[in-house]
Amino acid sequence: MESYHLLTLFLTAVVLVGGAIIFSYYAAPYKPGTVKSEPYECGIPTEGPTWIQFHVGYYLFAIIYLIFDVETVFLYPWAVVMREVGLSAFIEVLIFLTILGLGLLYAWKKKALIWE
């Protein structure tokens, strides 16, 4: 039974959003205009393209995040069995976290964590 529930939840969400938008589409007025459909920039027409190559700072954090997130995913199975396995699991994770910490330290020293 439960496997259907995930699908149900997904469908519920889609029906909620879709239904409301479709209702609004028919119920609400629709009067587009050239000025109205301009993107908002404090009443001044936008100059230059919006979709440009964005600043590298954002991507740098995304890359560091990617590394750390993959590492934390490895930790989940460990966390579940930690109590049963005991000492060996603790020592293993200690080594793992040390390497992870060193990685963070490296990124820190390389000034990857400083926002430009």
């Binding site: 920039e41 404090c42 600043h55 954002y58």
Partner: protein, 373 residues
Amino acid sequence: MEETLVDIDFKEKEEYIINMGPQHPSTHGVLRFETCLQGEKVKYIIPHCGYIHRGIEKMSESLTYPQLLHLTDRMDYLSAHINNEAVALCVENAMEVEVSDRVKYIRTILAELSRIASHQLWWSAFGMDLGALTTFFYGLRDREKILDIFEETTGSRLIQSFITPGGLMADIHPNFQRRVKEFITYFRKKLPEYDQLLTGNVIFRERTMGIGYMSKEDAIDFAVTGPSGRGSGFQCDVRKIAPYSAYPFVQFNEITYTEGDTYHRYLVRMKEMWESLNILEQLVDNIPQGEIMLNLKAIKAPKGEYYQRVETARGELGVYIVSDGAPSPARIKYRSPNFSNLFIINKISANHKIADLVAISGSLDLVIPDIDR
């Protein structure tokens, strides 16, 4: 291959221009900052003003002195009393008459009350600029008390036109002194609350300390006056340099800091509210008896040129009148504090984040109608 190279070249030169204003929550009025960004960093800012330029100076040339007084309220509407006082003093000096001490005292009390009210509104809006929304309601709650006092005596809350050349429009309301004293005790208790909410906050300090540094030389060079200039150590308080009205009779300190960052511009205004309360306390009990309006045949400046400086809540306001002896001035110039304070923003906020730009422009306390006039 060549094409892509050209493309990359073009991309690097391309500037990401964002318009802060005229319809933007952080500019508190219709001012436009054309901001060039690199990521989140501000490369340069070009301020554009004039969205509400009404030509007050041109209009004044065809109005008599008592009439043009009402236009001055509409410049810096947050210190309307002080603007009125500037014109009144200028005309009185030109006519070589002197108002009674009673008028001087009342003018000074009204001016200091409007200074507090203005700083309260600034404090509220500055908190909002930084994202602390609750400050707005705290500041406005206390500002109401002052506006109530104004309303009782002058009949209106924001633009009063109460101080005229030759005296005052009317005498003070019988409740005036009692309510001012009540306000002093009330606000002395509330000011520490302001500090608890914002000044002591770690995030607030991180956001403002060391941000938007303005050196004393820059402040003088760009003619940045008022609390913004005093935050950099520029001793520009006209109340001290060229005392007018009842300021020679009172003891008060000119608050200056030498650090010149956003945090110290903030502190100057917070301390000034305490000083204003002290001035009010010294004056309110000692209002002497006297005439509230001089008996003048006609209010007009004799032929000549006259200049009067006063200290508004934002800095030095100058009124320059060129008169031919006619009932209306040949030329009247308002040297408005905000106009001079605005243009330093490019210098002090370059290489800061876009969030800092909002904090810095908030700390300069700009009132746009005063820039545009």
